[in-house]
Symmetry: D3
Subunit: 239 residues, 6 copies
Amino acid sequence: MPKTIGVPREIKEDEGRVALSPAGLHELVRAGHAVLVERGAGRESGFDDAEYETAGARLVETAAEIYHESDIVVKVKEPLEREYPLIRRGQILFTFFHFAASRELTDAMLQSGASCIAYETIEAEDRQLLPLLTPMSEVAGRMSVFEGSKCLESPAGGRGVLISGIPGVESARVVILGGGVVGLNAAKLAAGLGAQVTIFDIDLDRLRYLSDILPPNVVTIFSTPYDVRRKLYDADLVI
Amino acid sequence: MPKTIGVPREIKEDEGRVALSPAGLHELVRAGHAVLVERGAGRESGFDDAEYETAGARLVETAAEIYHESDIVVKVKEPLEREYPLIRRGQILFTFFHFAASRELTDAMLQSGASCIAYETIEAEDRQLLPLLTPMSEVAGRMSVFEGSKCLESPAGGRGVLISGIPGVESARVVILGGGVVGLNAAKLAAGLGAQVTIFDIDLDRLRYLSDILPPNVVTIFSTPYDVRRKLYDADLVI
Amino acid sequence: MPKTIGVPREIKEDEGRVALSPAGLHELVRAGHAVLVERGAGRESGFDDAEYETAGARLVETAAEIYHESDIVVKVKEPLEREYPLIRRGQILFTFFHFAASRELTDAMLQSGASCIAYETIEAEDRQLLPLLTPMSEVAGRMSVFEGSKCLESPAGGRGVLISGIPGVESARVVILGGGVVGLNAAKLAAGLGAQVTIFDIDLDRLRYLSDILPPNVVTIFSTPYDVRRKLYDADLVI
Amino acid sequence: MPKTIGVPREIKEDEGRVALSPAGLHELVRAGHAVLVERGAGRESGFDDAEYETAGARLVETAAEIYHESDIVVKVKEPLEREYPLIRRGQILFTFFHFAASRELTDAMLQSGASCIAYETIEAEDRQLLPLLTPMSEVAGRMSVFEGSKCLESPAGGRGVLISGIPGVESARVVILGGGVVGLNAAKLAAGLGAQVTIFDIDLDRLRYLSDILPPNVVTIFSTPYDVRRKLYDADLVI
Amino acid sequence: MPKTIGVPREIKEDEGRVALSPAGLHELVRAGHAVLVERGAGRESGFDDAEYETAGARLVETAAEIYHESDIVVKVKEPLEREYPLIRRGQILFTFFHFAASRELTDAMLQSGASCIAYETIEAEDRQLLPLLTPMSEVAGRMSVFEGSKCLESPAGGRGVLISGIPGVESARVVILGGGVVGLNAAKLAAGLGAQVTIFDIDLDRLRYLSDILPPNVVTIFSTPYDVRRKLYDADLVI
Amino acid sequence: MPKTIGVPREIKEDEGRVALSPAGLHELVRAGHAVLVERGAGRESGFDDAEYETAGARLVETAAEIYHESDIVVKVKEPLEREYPLIRRGQILFTFFHFAASRELTDAMLQSGASCIAYETIEAEDRQLLPLLTPMSEVAGRMSVFEGSKCLESPAGGRGVLISGIPGVESARVVILGGGVVGLNAAKLAAGLGAQVTIFDIDLDRLRYLSDILPPNVVTIFSTPYDVRRKLYDADLVI
């Protein structure tokens, strides 16, 4: 059954993402839904209004219109206080909520009468995977190597170590605690830079897969609190 | 013939390097030279005074003592105005000078009567290589990838592109102009991060070597001003 | 219970394959079955009659004998009209049928009273895999790169692009639609040749596996009709 | 001293190349030379007349004009008989000549009074390298793998071997005689396809370099007539 | 419920292993159990008594004390005859037993009234994996390459073949029968040494995974008794 | 000018090599020389007499005949005392001599009047390379990894470390002193086994080449006595 889906502009500080790319929006329109986009919603993500219009969006001027007309509102961050009054009973809100972090938010949503579906709780059909968190973890794992590299530079107060080394100068020793999505992605980048990488995990089958696919400058170690401590002592960077 | 060699603390702003590591100093001492180190000279490079002493240095309190007692003074950066009066006739100064950039420095050194040997002009015996510049170029080439990555992040005003991509999201297109020491080192790191790298150069033999040793996500293109322009248009990052 | 299994010579135009190799036949004989082979059945696949005899076959002169004596007939292609009268009620026919493509074939088989088992419909026990199609797809994916390369050559009317490039000349941009068996195999070969490969798929978990195991000149992109179009515009070759 | 340089259209059968790309022409124009291009000269190489004009060419209608006005004529193939009368005394002809293959051509050029510089004889300054032949050899080495692959297909009368194999089916054994430019380039592509590659050469230092940079499915063997013969016996493909 | 767990010193000839490392012991202590270790139990594995004590063990002087005080006894090898009388009714014995190999051992354990859990029979929850055998198989597969290499040396009576070859001398042909845990681990090491490796297996899906993750000097072949024989004929080393 | 060349059987203890393979002998015969081989000379290297005969040798029964008839005698090891009297004035002896190690040998050769050319002193035309030592160094470098691995096993009195590790257990730390022929070859094998390899050298250009071609689990460090010591402390294996 076709629905009206709305995409408000994110108003939380430092949040530049938008819930739907023009490509995603186009898929929904192809499936028969109407999609409203608040003007400027995609600007900080590099999508301008015209692109959304080409992809099939109807542009509206205010968040109020989005909430008023939509069956489903898709966002990135949880609603802020000034958005609470816009939410309608029976409306579906689809966004990151992290309810455990805010009693106030939880109470407001309960009172709104809306159905709140939190991205962070969506599970894949037959597994423990959290498909909406995986890409965040992939980005986090990869970014952690850049952030760690910055911290090793001396202007940032680090030891003045270049993570990759150069010929004749040793690369950094990077220790990664946990070989899940974050750890795998951190390991790929740190290894790609030539670091000497060690991954600790308690799941031997996971370590077997990691040692099948990662380059040889990644060493895997079955992790016990007793052993990790010794390895950490030598590390330039711990992720 | 044994000499007295002195290592003053660098005083130019933002310069944290030191001319000799304890290991290098130890080599000179083993060869019979006396080496003086100004207290604190290695601190910002992670070498404390005790380490120099263990390696064979005699620690002194002031730069004046260094210049007064040494046959050869080794530094990193060119002397600043307040160091000019310390330099003695017949003394050897070994440091980066970059005389072309400063008439004032050049005149001051001419008047000092010291022999000035500029790191940046040292050539290898039978080649055009500049051995004291190569490691700087290696570091510069590698750092350029980190600096470029930062510039692509949206907080830095970039397009919000993660240079490595993630599964399902394309990695950045990186164009490198020149396949010398800087270019090779930049290519290694950008390729290690999974970027789609293109190197332009006008030396086909160099491109042949690069395509022998670099991973397959580096493409080499013989460079003409006519062709480069078109490729640059598509790039996320140009080094 | 031991059976008599027959292998007729394929008579469809351009079909040079044979249903059983000597090695496969040998396994059936070891398991206690009798296997009949029509003379010359393996010739175009490089297996001569003597090799089948060594492996345990009984050679017969005609397809009629095969169909007359066998409980099970194994073939490669569907029966042609002149083979219809040879098929016996209760006999098992094991071959590619592709019934959907021919009403005439379907009716003929229904009237024959034989049990027809189509290779293309065999499923693995606990998965959606089609084990008899997978090797065909592997070959198809790999051959597609050779066929595509030919099409890029100028004698074949192509752009005169060498898929691998040479040092100083860019390799081809190859776009692969779908990361299943065909796509993976095409990607391996195109990447092995040094092409700049992009795989589109809508299954992120599959793309994650592909990015774990494929070389770095393969980029994976989550596919939407909206995005694919733009990438295709730049491609030299689409598989 | 600025010259007038002319690029006639190639008229030898099956020759679709052109002596100058627009990019190369642009370099000559930037250096102050005038460059004439015969209309249609670049068509079969994918460069249209407009592109040459943009790059700075003056287009002319006939080969006669090219030869009449140019100080230097650059071509791909040697002049054919009907081009002989166009060549002027003192003019420089720069093309592939292969004089050893044709007495008639050699005599004609001697009589023309032109200075003939053969691409195939140009040597690099301080080495035995032939810089204008190397790219031809690179293309030849790479193409040989595609041509060899075609010959292994059964429609082409081959053994029906897929050079790459598939999982469970062995890849082809490829033997390469000589590890020079052709051999190295053939090896890279054959190895990239997963073949089992053996290179024979009599220069151990060259084999050392090859084993440093080629993937592990390339084996190097010091070549003697005595040993090569045995290895050839097993090969699917010899390049 | 906290238990007392005992680790006797192994007394079977040539057995230098110990059932618990200090790290493993530390985990049990953290979980609230008491762990007794016989003095010297870890010596041949490189763990001294002090290390166990630091990790939380109570050291005892004799095996008799271990068996007398422990609810669970963990060992490496099956009990020897002189250990039988120490075992108490109701006690849990956790070790490799291999009952099928010794009627005497089986009867003795039945009479002891202890609960015997054999490492070699422990299965993972939802699969056919044997988690306590996998690491043994990994070590065995890897060691097999070293043992095989020794056998190829001429002092050991071999053909005088260096498994890796050198530039100009072919590496060894290594055939591996079975692509399970042992085969995969043998293949990784043999391939890492540069050998020409062939793996035979009858599970095509496993061969597909192996060809995804192993380097290109590993060829996979679907195995039939008929085909294997021919390949073995050429091998330098069969694992 | 054709010569008679002789190959005696080596008689020094533990020496199983032979100076000429049948292939090498065949080359000499093709060049017009006569080659004599003492019966059994190649047996321990896997070449039987018949193979030499096929390649063009004349077999003789005794070393005395070899020395009596040959212009040039090619050997592996230096002559032993009982061979001295066989050597004739003016004869050329081509073998490893290592004169510095034996005054007695040197005097005997001086008195013999033969021309002694020592393999170990042959230099390449325009370089410092020693072409007859390089293959020995390649073998030595590679063998050192196998010998080192054996020493790490506990039956050999080692720490019980498997150089490759297994998933979950760290691989060995291997330190290689010097990045010449021996070091490069040792590094290739140790790295191929998955060890964590560090190469020390004082030639930065060599380290640059090594870091271009070796896998990422090889770290290069510019070597000073001061730094090496610290790294050695952590190593499992030093080569």
